[in-house]
């Protein structure tokens, strides 16, 4: 497989040295395919989620969990790595609790984990977060080349779906988002994706970035052996300084949008709940007509 390091473009706004392609694979412990999976710790969607005064998501409710859609990303990465004889690194950015997201990844079978932790990251917008991830992946790539980055299709907190494409653009690698099927063969990644109005098959040479949907697979549950093994796996914590990023590039300082107003939506009023006594269909028809909905 043709190997190339990730070399991020415009990480932190500055051009970085482009790594030349590395055409050999004769190095000692280099795995056949090295995959980085980006995962996120989010408030549980079953919990009462809220925005704080600053307009940021309240993340200290203790109801945090691994973004469910990232389990599909981990599953896809683990399946690909198992088939090709590779290695999976779980990567997250976030406050202290966020380490739980990569730990879950280790329990599912990832080989190592990286947690980028820095107070200055709070308040980052999507591009700010993508900058941190891009810098971390580039950092990982300087040790051992990274072939593929896998993400979930969206974070269940913000649901913007912007991160995967922004990250690929910063890393200057092809993006193949929303894969319902993904395969890697001979240095080429291929995905099938279902869009709003069409189905597409995309292909690109590695290194590349793929985001996978919840249709892509059925994520495995960590078993007892996996949970025990995860305790011995390394979790590396990195700061912005370790990644050569300045606080001005991320966090609220680097954000391009600001929440100026946020309020819980008022409860619906004048609600009607009836038990069907044989005329509920007629009553509903009258309600729809009265409210000009039919």
């Amino acid at each position: 497989m043709r190997r190339r390091c990730f070399a991020a473009r415009d990480v932190a706004g500055s051009a970085r040295r482009t790594q030349p392609p590395v055409g050999h694979r004769a190095r000692g412990n280099v795995p056949d395919v090295r995959i980085v999976v980006c995962v996120k710790h989010v408030p549980d969607i079953q919990s009462d989620r809220a925005l704080g005064e600053s307009g940021y998501v309240v993340r200290d409710g203790g109801d945090g969990t691994l973004n469910e859609l990232d389990e599909n990303a981990l599953e896809a990465a683990l399946t690909l790595a198992e088939a090709a004889g590779g290695e999976v690194v779980a990567l997250t950015v976030g406050p202290d609790d966020a380490v739980d997201a990569v730990r879950k990844g280790l329990q599912m079978g990832a080989d190592e984990a990286v947690h980028v932790l820095d107070d200055a990251i709070a308040g980052s917008d999507v591009v700010g977060t993508a900058r941190v991830l891009a810098a971390a992946i580039t950092h990982l790539g300087t040790e051992t080349p990274v072939d593929l980055v896998v993400t979930g299709m969206a974070g269940l907190d913000g649901l913007t779906s912007l991160l995967p494409t922004a990250l690929a653009a910063l890393l200057d690698v092809p993006a193949l988002p929303l894969a319902a099927e993904v395969s890697v063969e001979g240095g080429t990644v291929r995905v099938r994706r279902n869009l709003d109005h069409a189905t597409e098959v995309l292909e690109a040479p590695l290194p590349a970035l793929v985001s996978v949907t919840d249709q892509a697979n059925e994520p495995r549950y960590p078993n007892f052996k996996g949970i025990m093994a995860a305790r011995k796996k390394p979790v590396t914590t990195l700061s912005l300084g370790d990644l050569g990023l300045s606080p001005a590039d991320v966090g609220a300082a680097g954000a391009r949008t600001a929440v100026v107003e946020a309020a819980a939506r008022p409860a619906r009023e004048n609600r009607v709940l009836i038990n069907d006594q044989g005329d509920a269909g007629t009553q509903l028809a009258a309600y729809l007509v009265e409210n000009k909905l039919a």
Binding site: D10, I45, R49, L51, L69, D125, V126, V127, A130, M153, A154, D157, L159, T160, S161, L163, T165, A166, A169, V173, A175, P177, N194, H197, A198, T199, E200, V201, L202, A204, T213, D214, A255, R256, T257, A258, V259, V260, E261, A262, A263, A264, R265, R268, N270, V272, L273, N275, D276, D279, A280, G281, T282, L284, A285, A286, L288, V289, N291, A294
Partner: protein, 324 residues
């Protein structure tokens, strides 16, 4: 006053996608010139379409061509960046499709634009653009200021009522040709199949949606009949699509289609959190379910605890009688 670009999403035969007309209506609120952008991917806008756009307030249509496939989001993003530069527009308005969000993300990196996704409104306030949107599955309303000179905003369908401009004319059409970068060409589009039109409105932008869940036990006949009498689209829960009762493109939810129609009717839908995330922002929510404890009743404006096989035929017949 902000000049804007509006991406004119269209079908393979050149029909405008319905929500685009809302975008033009919204763009008028920014007070500047409105440029339409037509990605020339084989289909062309006909005279009727151009007249319609003109009546809504579009003064010029830029016909984008590229030396690579404009269906590739990296290619389209580069072309739009070039056009934003050429026109000096301060805002790009696009519909909230997955592809357009990819374009928005790439433009954020290419141009430094501030991006808001799934907005339902956009206004100029104190010289800056402020977008409104609901978050957390429709349970919170927020307003976001875009603090960069360039804003890229994706809009949910059914955000605003379409209205004509006070004065309009037929827009002129100018070509804008771009060369895609080597980076944008690294992805190849091996295959693209547009889903055929179903004869019903598009789920994502329909004014009325009737959704079937587990309670239908796989029979969507009554759901379809009700949708047709209301002129609505048919949707489904994850359970129904996973069971193969209906195609995956009908799935409403956080990972499927997000909808905010004027009227949503859930039939045998329990209202799992993933489904609610995709429909909770609907105008009026109606639920019909035999289980009084179904969570969907917590958010329903009109709930019926009953057997859908009794309620739906009666409802459909009553609506038909009403329509005469």
């Amino acid at each position: 006053m902000t000049d804007s670009l509006v991406l004119l999403d269209h079908t393979a035969d050149g029909t405008l996608r319905a929500p685009v007309r809302e975008l033009v209506t919204l763009a008028r609120g920014l007070g500047g010139a409105i440029h339409g952008v037509w990605a020339a991917d084989g289909a062309e806008p006909d005279a009727e379409t151009l007249a319609d756009l003109g009546a809504l307030g579009v003064s010029r249509v830029h016909r984008l061509t590229a030396d690579a496939d404009l269906h590739l989001s990296a290619v389209l993003a580069e072309a739009l960046a070039s056009l934003l530069d050429a026109t000096g527009a301060g805002a790009l308005l696009v519909t909230s499709t997955f592809e357009n969000k990819e374009v928005a993300a790439r433009l954020a990196v290419l141009t430094g634009a501030g991006v808001v996704t799934d907005a339902d409104g956009l206004v100029v306030e104190d010289g800056r653009l402020v977008a409104s949107k609901t978050v957390f599955a429709g349970t919170w309303n927020t307003r976001c200021a875009i603090t960069t000179p360039l804003a890229v905003v994706t809009f949910k369908a059914n955000s605003v009522a379409v209205s004509p401009a006070e004065s309009g004319g037929v827009p002129d059409v100018v070509d804008h040709a771009v060369a895609a970068s080597a980076a944008a060409r690294r992805v190849s589009l091996v295959e693209r199949t547009e889903r055929p039109a179903s004869g019903r409105p598009d789920l994502g932008s329909a004014h009325v949606v009737v959704a079937g869940g587990r309670g239908t036990e796989g029979d969507f006949t009554l759901v379809e009949e009700l949708a047709d009498v209301l002129g609505g689209a048919v949707g489904a829960t994850r359970v129904a699509t996973d069971e193969g009762w209906i195609g995956h493109d009908a799935q409403i939810g956080q990972t499927g289609v997000t909808i905010s129609p004027r009227l949503y009717i859930g039939v045998g839908v329990s209202g799992a959190v993933h489904h609610r995330g995709g429909m909770q922002a609907s105008g009026t929510i109606v639920a019909i379910n035999s289980d009084p404890d179904a969570p969907i009743f917590e958010i329903a404006d009109f709930g019926i605890v009953g057997d859908l096989n009794e309620v739906l035929p009666q409802l459909t017949a009553a609506l038909r009688a009403q329509q005469g």
